[in-house]
């Protein structure tokens, strides 16, 4: 791979896949984590432990499962998502979701009980209560999103299994590094690695600035 417009396309694809997967996982995980953090229900401890266990799911195992599900003979083969961007987004969505949900749940649970009581005594309930508490926990919620994005942008196992690392189609920065390394092009692989590092650093810098502004 030459360091020209192609690397920018690959980097753009990385940001698109990981960014969209994180946005979708946040759209589901933040409300789910908020509800789980607020409600005291039977089995919450089990659910919390289960979510934490999912943090450790190896991406390559998730990729393998999705490969089997999305392959032509698999139950989800009809979608035609194997070796597509959509399949990669699905893989990263599933990878990120437990992190965003679990960390949001922790951020809400860890809010001071007196703060929650004060919101209730001021008349907050249902929607207004949730909005107030999410706003209070916004720093923790944003951290959950950042951890999710970090998990997505840096993983290689799931996207290489589901995406196939097809040049001009499903190749992203991490899979390109694997490809160049396997070919013995260490200079190119190192350059891609530095580009990946710089790209994710810029995204994290922006998110950190946003986090500090919300303090």
């Amino acid at each position: 791979m030459s360091f020209d417009s192609e690397i920018l396309l690959v980097a753009g694809r990385s940001l698109y896949v990981s960014g969209l997967a994180t946005v979708l996982a946040s759209a589901v995980g933040v409300p789910a984590g908020t509800v789980l953090g607020l409600r005291d229900f039977h089995g919450r401890r089990f659910l919390r432990s289960f979510l934490h266990a999912l943090y450790g799911v190896p991406p390559v195992l998730l990729g393998l499962c999705l490969y089997l599900l999305l392959s032509k003979t698999g139950p989800l083969g009809g979608f035609g998502w194997l070796f597509t961007i959509e399949g990669m987004i699905l893989a990263q969505f599933l990878l990120v979701l437990p992190f965003v949900t679990g960390l949001t749940m922790n951020a809400i649970q860890e809010l001071d009980a007196a703060l929650k009581d004060t919101a209730r005594t001021l008349g907050a309930r249902r929607g207004s209560y949730v909005r107030i508490l999410v706003r209070e926990a916004r720093s923790g919620v944003l951290s959950a999103v950042m951890v999710g994005f970090g998990r997505a942008i840096s993983e290689v196992g799931a996207v290489i299994m589901v995406g196939g690392n097809i040049r001009h189609e499903t190749e992203v920065l991490t899979t390109a590094i694997v490809k160049e390394t396997s070919r013995g092009n260490f200079t190119a692989a190192t350059g891609l690695g530095l580009f990946l590092l710089g790209t994710s650093a810029l995204v994290f810098l922006a998110l950190t600035v946003l986090q500090e502004r919300t303090e």
């Binding site: 001071d112 703060l115 009581d117 001021l122 008349g123 907050a124 309930r125 209070e136 303090e215």
Partner: protein, 250 residues
């Protein structure tokens, strides 16, 4: 009917431990009712039950004669009980500040109630002035001192203009100047606004300074309840006399 908030025969247990046993007391509008008692006597639990934050195991809470809390009532509050909560506000012992500016904190309850913007601005600026917080209006509330945060907590409750203010050791651990500001504000709330104030405290001197009526709670039971002068000058129950003597000797 005279507006009043009443706890009737409240019993509350946590597991095997009985925190309150058959406690009844009433707060009328325009009066400050101090509930005295040593730590662990159930004062805070009683306040939380009256504010509908917790349900009793036995007994009821009535507002203007209407039953608003019954034994083992479930959350969330239904329409009638929610409307009752909107007529009360509570200030906790620990200062609570939301991650907002001082003015946003003070306006929070009015915003939840959907009051018009102009009214919120007017009422909030008046209450911040009264509590000596006007110059800090745009400061982040979490950066205030503990005393300022507690004054803000009082302002956030008082600005609502509710019928009943429930104050849980609201001046504990504060310096005399902040205590003075808050006590004056509580008195003004009862005298000028005509609100009923239930003040939970272990400070006998504070009860003497601000209360119209005083009750003593001990080991989860109401020992005695009387107008202030009668309570301090001629207590009927020997436990009250013992409590007053013990505390005054400190």
């Amino acid at each position: 009917m005279k507006a009043e908030l009443a706890a009737e025969w409240i019993t509350k247990r946590y597991g095997d431990r009985t925190v309150l046993t058959g406690v009844s007391l009433t707060i009328a509008r325009g009066e400050i009712h101090a509930v005295l008692g040593p730590s662990g006597s159930g004062k805070t639990t009683l306040l939380r039950i009256m504010n509908l934050l917790e349900a009793p195991d036995e007994g009821t809470v009535r507002l203007d004669g209407e039953e608003i809390q019954v034994a083992r009532a479930a959350e969330p509050l239904d329409g009638m009980r929610y409307a009752a909560r909107l007529r009360m506000a509570m200030v906790f012992q620990k200062p609570v500040a939301f991650r907002r500016t001082v003015v946003e904190n003070a306006a929070l309850g009015l915003e939840i109630r959907g009051r018009p913007r102009a009214e919120i601005v007017e009422r909030v600026s008046a209450v911040l002035q009264e509590l000596g917080l006007a110059r800090l209006a745009n400061a982040p509330a979490r950066r205030l001192s503990a005393g300022e945060q507690q004054r803000l907590a009082f302002a956030r409750a008082a600005v609502l203009g509710v019928d009943f203010l429930l104050l849980d050791e609201f001046t504990a651990n504060l310096d005399p100047r902040n205590v003075d500001v808050l006590e004056r504000a509580a008195r003004a709330y009862a005298r000028e606004h005509g609100g009923g104030v239930l003040l939970v405290t272990h400070d006998l001197f504070q009860a003497r300074r601000v209360a119209d009526r005083v009750s003593l709670l001990s080991e989860g039971r109401l020992v005695e309840s009387a107008p202030k002068t009668e309570f301090f000058e001629s207590p009927k129950d020997p436990r009250t006399r013992g409590f007053l003597a013990g505390e005054l000797a400190l």
